[in-house]
């Protein structure tokens, strides 16, 4: 089975978010780009599965939709261990458009498992993975925090509100993964970085797809009033404030 991991290229999670003066676009000056944290965990799990010879995993591909600017991020995934990368040459912030591109790539290859992170840390849409599965008409399991092989089936652990479930699913399927799927993301070693240069990074044109949404404008939250400090020796005062001022006790 081949695994396809969908990779979103996002601003580093510590980025101070800024917008253009007319508030219609993200200001990316000085921004460091990274692999979306959940996608990075998905990739890590895919690598672990491939490295354990008892699993029927023959290869791991990665795919991203974006301009040439996403290529350093794709190279990083190759350095971490992915076998090959595909970039769909298109720019879009609409989840449906992006999902349609990824679904087209998935349909063109023989992938048994398609892994996506549960959301991207920029638009927080939690949309792409589920959309790919519906476009392809295959099962999806969301909030996945574990993935293993059991005979010809795949067993996924997923979080439900108030517990955990183990779900088995036939291939091909989409797993929308979250934290727990792998422990720590991998860091590319020097050898991986050298090897990544020789690995294939294929650029494919976008397919026709509809856009369902458009981002009109952005805004920053209202600045918060400064924190009201209470002396450590006066815990009683804090209780009084929480009861009478904030009215939360």
């Amino acid at each position: 089975m081949r695994i396809l991991v969908c990779i979103s290229n996002v601003p580093d999670t510590t980025t101070k978010v800024k917008f253009s003066t007319d508030l219609t676009s993200f200001d990316d000056s000085g921004v460091q780009w990274i692999i979306n944290p959940w996608d990075e965990l998905a990739l890590t799990r895919a690598m672990e599965l491939k490295e354990d010879a008892s699993n029927p995993v023959s290869g791991v591909s990665v795919v991203s939709v974006g301009s040439a600017l996403v290529e350093p991020t794709l190279r990083k995934t190759l350095a971490i261990g992915a076998d090959d990368a595909i970039r769909v040459d298109a720019n879009s912030s609409d989840a449906h458009y992006v999902a349609a591109q990824l679904a087209a790539v998935a349909a063109n290859g023989d992938y048994g498992a398609i892994l996506c992170g549960i959301e991207s840390s920029d638009y927080n849409g939690s949309a792409v993975g589920g959309m790919i599965s519906e476009i392809l008409g295959i099962p999806s399991v969301s909030a996945v925090s574990g993935l293993k092989f059991a005979g010809d089936k795949v067993v996924l652990s997923r979080d439900i509100d108030g517990g955990k479930e183990e779900v088995s699913v036939p291939a091909p399927f989409v797993a929308v993964v979250q934290k727990g799927i792998a422990r720590e993301p991998r860091i590319a070693a020097m050898r991986g970085i050298m090897m990544a240069r020789k690995k294939p990074l294929q650029v494919v044109p976008a397919v026709e797809a509809e856009t369902f949404t458009a981002y009109k404008s952005f805004a920053m939250p209202e600045p918060k009033a400064p924190c009201r400090m209470v002396d450590a020796d006066n815990v009683k005062e804090l209780v009084h404030l929480l009861q009478n001022e904030a009215k939360v006790l």
Partner: protein, 322 residues
């Protein structure tokens, strides 16, 4: 333009978020000019179903037959059939694990633009423009839905539950969907018994690495019990195995918005704040006066959490006894 809302239940009772969703849908329907239909999947008592009228639903569709676990394809088909039955153009779901699993599939199936993690009622219905969280809560964006139909997933605790005193007609709903055709099958379920769900809690008491050791958690639990709240933690605490992963809040953990969030020995790293900054009131106790948590907090104490906690518990007890 009518609105369909997908409500969720747990052990046959509606979750608190279902009332929030119906209240929200009522306001959206008022803006768009239409009624609210609520859809319930799985076994819920008739009496419980009719309570949704009190939050603004005029019709409740009850689809009793459902697969044993959430099968995304079967659920998507049932919800899509309900959309068709009530002629709704707007669908509302929760922005939780279930909503995140179903909304994108429905978006494709219904050709309906999806605005996820919305935090307010749309500012207009035609075209539908709505405010949502972006950059993990560090900013907001106005999204316009370009399709005829729209799907909104509501961030939790973004809308007040309002009781309207209305009544709802409850109707059995038996769509032409093969429930037995579920591709996924549940092998095992581990339910967290008897504990308040973190996502449902109005009060959350949270500890970070500054609590020093898992052996120091008793006062955190005691305070949570006293305030009828839930316990939470920062990521390193769950990574270390001091507390279960289900308690980890933040960008990569649970995103919560309780009325009161108390952070003991938590630095307030940006990724932690991404999960808790929508709380109505934040209280922080930290030994470091420069800890970033104080920038997000409403009330703060510079001090040792292990000393402050027992005092806080006894002062709250004393204040309540008065």
């Amino acid at each position: 333009m009518s609105v369909l809302v997908y409500t969720e239940n747990w052990d046959g009772k509606f979750k608190k978020l279902s009332y929030e969703l119906v209240s929200y849908a009522k306001t959206v329907a008022a803006l768009a000019g239409g009624d609210v239909t609520a859809l319930s999947i799985g076994s819920v008592d008739q009496d419980e179903l009719s309570t949704l009228g009190n939050y603004g639903a005029s019709l409740v569709l009850s689809a009793d037959a459902a697969p044993s676990g959430l099968d995304n394809q079967v659920y998507t088909s049932i919800i899509a059939a309900a959309m068709e039955k009530c002629g709704a153009r707007i669908l509302v779901l929760a922005h939780n694990n279930t909503g995140k699993a179903l909304a994108p599939r429905l978006s494709v199936k219904l050709k309906a633009g999806l605005a996820a993690a919305v935090i307010a009622v749309p500012e207009s219905a035609g075209p539908l423009v709505v405010n949502k969280k972006v950059y993990s809560g560090k900013a907001f964006a106005k999204v316009e839905i370009l399709t005829d139909k729209a799907i909104l997933t509501l961030s939790q605790n973004s809308f007040e539950i309002c009781e309207t005193g209305g009544t709802a007609t409850v109707e059995a709903f038996d769509p032409d969907v093969d429930v037995a055709a579920a591709a996924t099958s549940i092998q095992d379920v581990q339910k967290q018994e008897g504990k308040l769900l973190l996502s449902d809690a109005d009060v959350v008491i949270s500890g970070g690495r500054g609590m020093k050791s898992p052996d120091n958690w008793a006062p955190i639990e005691e305070l949570a019990t006293l305030l009828e709240g839930a316990t939470a933690c920062s990521r390193p605490v769950s990574d270390e195995g001091w507390r279960p992963h289900s308690e980890h809040t933040g960008q990569t953990g649970k995103i919560i918005a309780p009325n009161l969030y108390m952070a003991f020995g938590i630095s307030g790293a940006i990724q932690h704040l991404a999960g808790v900054s929508s709380s109505k009131c934040i209280v922080a106790v930290n030994t470091d006066k420069d800890a970033p948590i104080f920038e997000a907090a409403d009330y703060g104490i510079v001090g040792d959490a292990l000393k402050v906690l027992p005092e806080l518990i006894s002062e709250i007890r004393a204040a309540r006894a008065q």
